[in-house]
Each structure stands twice: as C-alpha cells, then as structure tokens.
Symmetry: C2
Subunit: 219 residues, 2 copies
DNA sequence: TCACTTTTGGACTGAGAAGTCCAATAAGCC
DNA sequence: GGCTTATTGGACTTCTCAGTCCAAAAGTGA
C-alpha cells in the first residue's frame, strides 16, 4: 500500500549513517529505532525529531501512527532473509547444523534483535496481524529454509526424519534456543562466551544427529 | 511490600467467582485479568469498573498504577509454583520427562498463559524488574525443579549429564517448547490435538534419553 | 450508640499525545 | 526563471488518562 514514487534513492554510493537517504527511508529507519527501543508508545513528535523531519511530513508520508508502524514492520520484514546458506550441500549435516546454531547465537540472539522481537510481541496484543506478519517474515523463513535443507538431506539418505522434516527442524530450533530466547525477551542477560557458543552449537548438532541421523529414532 | 492488614479473607468456603473476597484480592484479580487481556495500557477506570470498586479505592489500596501492576505481578508470582512432582523417584526417567512435556503442553502453552507472558514481555520494556521477577517466579522455578530432579537421577546413575544437570534441563525445556512458544507469543494459533501432544511428549523424552541416558553423549 | 475508618461517585486538574491548520520556505522540474 | 509540490515549524484542538478532592454513605469496633 502506498509505496509512492517518492522513494527513489538512486544513490547506492556507500553513505555514512543517515545522510542522503530518501525521506521515507529516513523516517522508517528512525521509526524502527524508536519503536524498538521505546515500544509502540513513543510519541510521533519523538519520531519526527529522531528522523530530523517535521511532524507534518510524517503524516504526509504515512497518514497515521498505526500506518507508519505497520510500514516500518513491513520494511524491516522485507529486509529479513533467512540467513541460511543452504547451497553448501557437500558439508556434513553435523557441521551445517552447528553452523546454523552459531548463526543463531551470534545474530538472532543479540540484545538488539531481542528488543525488536520484544516490541513486536508487545504490539501484537494491539495489532494481531503484526505478530503474524513478523512470524511469516522471520521465524517461519528460517524454519522453512531449514526444513527444505533437511528434506534434501533426507532424500540423499544422510538424514532420516521419517518423512516429517519440519518436525525435525522445529525441534532443532527449539534445542538451540533452549530457553535463551525466553530469558532474553524478559530482558535478562544472555551473553555467551565464544567457548560457550561453540559448546552449545556442537552439542545441539550432535543431539540432532542422534535423533535424525540415518539410523535415528524409530518413529 | 505493603501487604497490609486489610487482606484477611478468613472465608475458605467455596465461593462463586468474585463474591466475598477481600477488596485487595478482588482488585488484584480484576487487575490481572485486565492487564493480561489489554496490556499495561488499560485505564485505571477500566480496572476499577472491572473490580466493581471506586477508583479512589484503587489508589487507597495501591497508591499508583505502577504499584498496582507490580503488586499484581507479585501476587500472581506467589501463586505460581513449579508444577513438577519430583517425588516420584521410582518412575523411569523417560516417563517422568514425557510427563513434564505433557504438563507444559497442557498448561504453560495455553492461550491464557501465553497472553499473560506476552503482556509481561511487553511491560518488561518499561519495567525491567518485572521481567526479572517473572522469570524468577516462573521459568526459573521450573528449570530449577527439573535441574534438581536430573541431578538426583544422575547420582543414582540413571542419567549422565557430565556434571551439568542445568545444561541438560535447559535443552530439554527448549526441546519441548520447540518454537511453539514463539508462535504463541506472536498470537498465532498453537492448538494441538491430544495425539499430537502425546507424540511430541514421547519424542522429546526419547531424545533426551539418547543425549543424557546412562551411556549418553561424550561431553 | 458513638467515634473512626474506608468506600463511593463524580467532578476536577494537569499532562501528554494524535492529529490538524497554515503561512513561510525550500526543492524539484520544465 | 517560474510553476508546482513538499517540507517546515509551531500553534492549536481534542481526547484520554493518571491522579486528586470532597462530601455523603457505609462499615467497623468497643
């Protein structure tokens, strides 16, 4: 909706934080930061100030606070892609899985990412469709990428999920989040040393192989 | 703080929903429901109405909205106990674990419980100590109860976590939540058929036994 | 019965915030 | 340059809501 012709941004020249961005982009960026750090309750004045833009421009471009919020979420959703390099078929499943875990621990599990998710969860009470949109753009993408990869490995005979690769993918993701997400969402510290990350990543991969390796569990 | 002498409630006679409860109890109950279903943004007027009490009484009893909210969380926290019957030592670990999973799926994973957690997560942005208090009273209790049980089983020789029962407990809990919590918190449907609950519970228990059974993984 | 405390309802204050209006200014385009 | 459209700032309206005030009514205890 309303992706107007204003958003040109022809300049792909590397540009220092918030310089010649189009007005819409600048607003969306500032809105993301303000909503993330202060929740849906930030005032439009605060967002306007953060975007170094007048309040009227906010309304010219997005119509209302709710619309701005949704546009911001949609914008960020478009930027999220499954950070899963599924092309590396030659790697052993165990290594691939450990890598997925490592990626989770060092990206999705970051205070910044967590505070964004926390904000979305809070807002999904008020705007249920936001929760759904976020799920589709984030967690679901990762789940599906992983599911596909597992499916492929199963066809090759290197994994055996009994024909339910998504079931396997869900449990692997559950295993790596292992309550860390819950704690992070509640604002508790979730820092992990590189050693700890390595230990957990390897462990999760090993567990998964035991459960879904070629001669895994009977199901 | 401020557990005043007003909260008597000598009547343990079974009483239909919201009858002769002490005023404080009635307010706390209504506040819990309103905060849960509408978030911290509910108006004090709405809470007063829901508690069939005048707004002034709210302020007489709790001083401010923030204090009422915190009192409500503390009240609910006191009511939460680890729903883990750890006394059943004679049962096989596999059965015990499956039962923990079943309990999770049929209690913690309920739309009602999830919406309360969702609200807490949202509020923890504004009041970080609330997130912590909730964690201590809820998830941490369960984690610790499970950790203790695992520790005991390890001493008996029926489990082997390599001396880190909490690590094992965390992963088991991660395994059973398996992304269901994430979806639920975002407001998506998480209904499961009894068959599905049974399948998942058994599966998680089996995985755990493979990982931490007497001749489990090398660590 | 009498004094004391609490509740009640309803009006009221003050602050903060969404959204609007408008005249002046700047930017983009032919 | 000149036309058009967008941005600016800042005042303004309207509304919601936390918290207060107060006089009347209801409990409560001895």
């Amino acid at each position: 909706m309303s992706r107007s012709a204003t958003a040109v941004n022809l300049n792909n020249i590397p540009v220092s934080h918030s310089a010649i961005l189009s007005i819409r982009a600048r607003i969306l960026e500032a809105a993301a930061e303000m909503f993330r750090s202060q929740g849906y309750d930030v005032s439009m004045d605060a967002i306007a100030t953060a975007a170094t833009v007048s309040k009227q421009t906010l309304y010219n471009q997005f119509g209302s606070k709710e619309d701005l919020f949704k546009a911001m979420v949609a914008d960020r959703a478009a930027a999220m892609r499954a950070p899963l390099n599924v092309s590396a078929l030659e790697r052993h499943p165990r290594d691939m899985l450990a890598d997925v875990a490592r990626q989770y621990y060092s990206h999705a599990c970051t205070p910044y990412e967590l505070s964004y998710t926390r904000m979305i969860i809070g807002a999904s009470q008020q705007f249920p469709e936001i929760g759904e949109a976020y799920y589709e753009a984030g967690p679901k993408q990762i789940l599906e990428a992983l599911t596909q990869w597992i499916g492929r490995e199963e066809r090759i005979g290197r994994l055996d999920t009994g024909g339910d690769p998504q079931f396997a993918a869900e449990h692997f993701l559950g295993l790596i989040t292992a309550r860390i997400e819950t704690r992070g969402l509640l604002g508790l510290d979730v820092e992990m040393s590189p050693t700890e990350i390595e230990r957990r990543s390897r462990f999760c991969a090993e567990i998964f192989m035991r459960a879904f390796g070629p001669e895994g569990l009977p199901r």
